[in-house]
């Protein structure tokens, strides 16, 4: 990853110690500044050549020859344009091409540009218009954004005026006698322009530095972002690995539990069967004490069998091996059959059982066994925790969202549940508390299986209760259950749906 990122961000390596924002800002600033120097050097390289050519053309057009009677020869201005222009232009042009960006290059260019101004002014006969070349050149020199280059340029202009004023005052001032300080007046106008150019250079440099700082900060942010992305991807990879390991461990555990449950159920069935046979023999032999003892063995065996069946179902679900056998069945008939089986259990604690349902419940396409198991477990719980009260089971067809559902409600007037108990209610082996387990018995698997069966069939279960006020369990199953083919591990909710 470090190699790949270093390709994107050449200035940084994820394996090397990153430079500070200040250092990076300095580096970016210097890089931009040198780029500007080089770019301006190139401009002057072309400009020098163009000026040299222009000087030659101008000399050839304006004064190609000098005359003496009928004789003529090439005018000195032409040779001056060729040779002096060449001397002035070639050196800075060569430096601009061979040593772009160097300090000496731009200083040489600054001097050369002013010497070229002097030459052009000479060649044009000292026309005032040509003096604008000086001011234009200073403006172009400001492209460097290095105000220092204006110093040698201005010095050349001042020296040119001072020397010419000293030796040929008429050539520059139009008079034979001029004050030896008059060159200062001319230089002052150049300095006047310099002042504004220096301000422009300083501002430009300041903006350049500001951009460099912003660039460095942005790069730092990008680098941090890249590092965070790497850390995040590594974390996700670790989580996925852990998840895979957990899934594998869970499946292994569930397979083990399923196998063990199967192995346990075989001898347990034998115990139950043989105890029933022995009880029949004891009854025939009129041995009431043995009948009672054998009855206890049967009861314990059946309890243990129920517990193993529950664990087996739970394990199948967690191992992704629980399959749905979707079939169409009449809801009303299923409820009546269930009541016939569990009605006596509900009435054991002197409870009344109320059954209500709509006439048009119709057909439910679902797993009949698991639907029956859901209602059986809910009714068993209601009967267990209600004494001298009532247990009500009702069913109705309703539409939730965009799908048709059958809603089953099992309500009791029993001991009810606290909020904390409701939160743990659908977890495996989690009863209200340990005292409930001791007082009412049970394994804590019933409601866990209810929740998982509902999930498996695309339905949901919810509870509404308060301590001492009974509990109401609502189960909604879609009318058309679709058999799930995935092997997702079901995790019990923290809070009841």
């Amino acid at each position: 990853m470090a190699t790949r990122l270093s390709g994107i961000m050449p200035s940084y390596s994820m394996t090397s110690r990153p430079e500070s924002v200040d250092d990076r800002a300095d580096a970016v600033f210097q890089s931009h500044q040198v780029a500007i120097y080089k770019q301006t050097d190139r401009i002057f390289a072309y400009l020098m050549g163009a000026q040299w050519l222009a000087a030659i053309v101008f000399a050839l057009v304006v004064a190609p020859k000098t005359w003496a009677g009928a004789d003529s020869q090439v005018h000195t201005h032409v040779w001056a344009a060729v040779f002096l222009g060449g001397i002035i232009s070639v050196v800075p042009t060569a430096l601009a091409l061979r040593h772009p960006g160097e300090t000496a290059t731009r200083y040489t260019i600054a001097v050369a540009q002013m010497l070229m101004s002097a030459l052009l002014i000479h060649l044009t006969g000292g026309r005032i218009e040509t003096h604008f070349h000086v001011f234009g050149s200073l403006a172009i020199l400001a492209f460097y954004r290095d105000w220092r280059v204006l110093i040698p340029a201005t010095a050349v202009v001042a020296a040119d005026h001072a020397l010419r004023g000293l030796f040929w005052p008429q050539s520059v001032y139009g008079v034979f006698v001029a004050s030896e300080w008059r060159w200062l007046e001319h230089a002052a106008w150049v300095v006047f322009e310099d002042v504004f150019l220096v301000i422009a250079c300083v501002r430009g440099t300041s903006e350049l530095r500001e951009i460099a700082v912003r660039t460095a900060i942005l790069e730092q942010a990008n680098r941090d972002s890249a590092r965070h992305a790497i850390e995040q991807s590594e974390l996700i990879a670790r989580l996925r690995l852990t998840q895979t390991q957990v899934e594998a461990a869970t499946r292994a555990k569930s397979e083990f539990v399923a196998n063990m449950s199967h192995e346990l159920r075989t001898p347990l069935n034998a115990i139950t069967l043989y105890s029933e046979l022995l009880q029949e023999v004891a009854l025939e032999d009129n041995r009431p004490d043995d009948v009672a003892d054998l009855g206890k063995i049967q009861m314990a065996s059946k309890h243990l069998l129920g517990l193993i069946n529950g664990i087996l179902d739970l394990s199948k679900i967690e191992a992704g091996k629980m399959e749905l056998h979707v079939e169409a069945f009449d809801v009303r008939a299923m409820i009546e059959e269930l009541i016939g089986t569990i009605g006596a259990v509900v009435r054991n604690n002197r409870n009344t059982l109320n059954v209500t349902y709509e006439n048009d419940l119709g057909v439910l396409h679902a797993d009949l066994t698991k639907t029956r198991q859901i209602l059986f477990n809910l009714l068993s719980n209601a009967a267990k925790f209600t004494t001298e009260g009532s247990v009500t089971v009702s069913a109705r067809r309703r539409t939730v969202g965009d799908r048709d559902c059958i809603e089953f409600v099992v309500a009791d007037t029993g001991i009810g549940l606290t909020d904390e108990q409701q939160r743990r209610l659908f977890r495996p082996f989690a009863q209200g508390d340990t005292s409930i387990s001791r007082k009412y018995g049970g394994t804590g698997l019933g409601l866990a299986l209810v929740w998982r069966f509902c999930q498996l069939m695309g339905g949901e279960v919810a509870v509404k209760s308060a301590p001492g006020s009974g509990a109401t369990f609502t189960v909604r199953l879609p009318v058309m259950v679709v058999a799930r083919t995935d092997s997702a591990i079901f995790t019990a909710p923290v809070v009841a749906a």
Binding site: D23, A27, V34, W67, G69, A70, E102, T105, T108
Partner: protein, 221 residues
């Protein structure tokens, strides 16, 4: 200052070698010296006057030019192909525009022996004709130039109403350079009846005669 900054602030080569620095400094001095010398020579050339005139103190009697007997007469001798004379004619036009009383003015273009008609149809001839009040005269073989003792293009002579020479010199301050100058100012002052700054001035322009012309045949005396 970061290392990068220091690197880019180094001068050429950046090796730090004193020999290299001396070499660069030497080259810089050589370059500046060459350019400076060239410019000085160019300025010296531009400011070197031509051969001065040996004009007669009185209007030459054998001249074909007609002097104004009631007012000053101005005569400029010029080479029709001397580019430097363009500035002299420009200054002549300037001074004639400034004076209160415009004098009779001649611009005499010499025609070397054997020259063809193209010597009469040059840009300078057109420029001279365009100046109001100027009479353009062509001087075959420089006869008039010799009469006036003139050897350099742009030489300007001013004779007063009595035919006495009051000014002899150029109307530019340097070769081919227009602008304010003492020669022009002096002529203006004389024409306006004021005291001139100078009565003689150097003249800047081409030679009217070929070097092969025998000295006796040149204008100077």
């Amino acid at each position: 200052m970061p290392a990068d900054s220091r690197r880019h602030r180094r001068w050429l080569g950046g090796s730090g070698s004193s020999v290299r620095s001396v070499m660069w400094a030497g080259l810089a001095i050589l370059w500046l010296g060459s350019a400076g010398t060239g410019l000085v020579l160019l300025m010296a050339y531009d400011n070197t006057p031509g051969l001065g005139a040996d004009a007669p103190a009185d209007w030459p009697a054998d001249s074909t030019l007609v002097r104004d007997a009631a007012a000053p007469t101005l005569v400029m001798l010029a080479h029709p192909r001397c580019d430097c004379t363009r500035a002299s004619l420009g200054e002549l036009a300037e001074l004639l525009a400034r004076v209160h009383h415009r004098p009779r003015t001649y611009v005499v273009f010499i025609k070397p022996a054997g020259s063809d008609g193209s010597w009469e149809n040059t840009g300078l001839s057109d420029q001279a004709r365009a100046i109001p009040g100027v009479t353009v005269v062509y001087d075959d073989n420089g006869v008039e130039a010799r009469r006036f003792g003139v050897a350099t293009s742009g030489q300007t002579l001013l004779y007063d109403a009595r035919g006495r020479l009051v000014y002899s010199g150029g109307t530019t301050g340097a070769r081919g350079k227009g602008g304010d100058n003492i020669g022009r100012a002096s002529v203006v002052a004389l024409l306006d009846g004021e005291r001139p700054a100078q009565s003689t001035q150097p003249v800047f322009g081409c030679s009217l005669f070929s070097p092969t012309t025998p000295p006796d045949d040149r204008g100077t005396r």
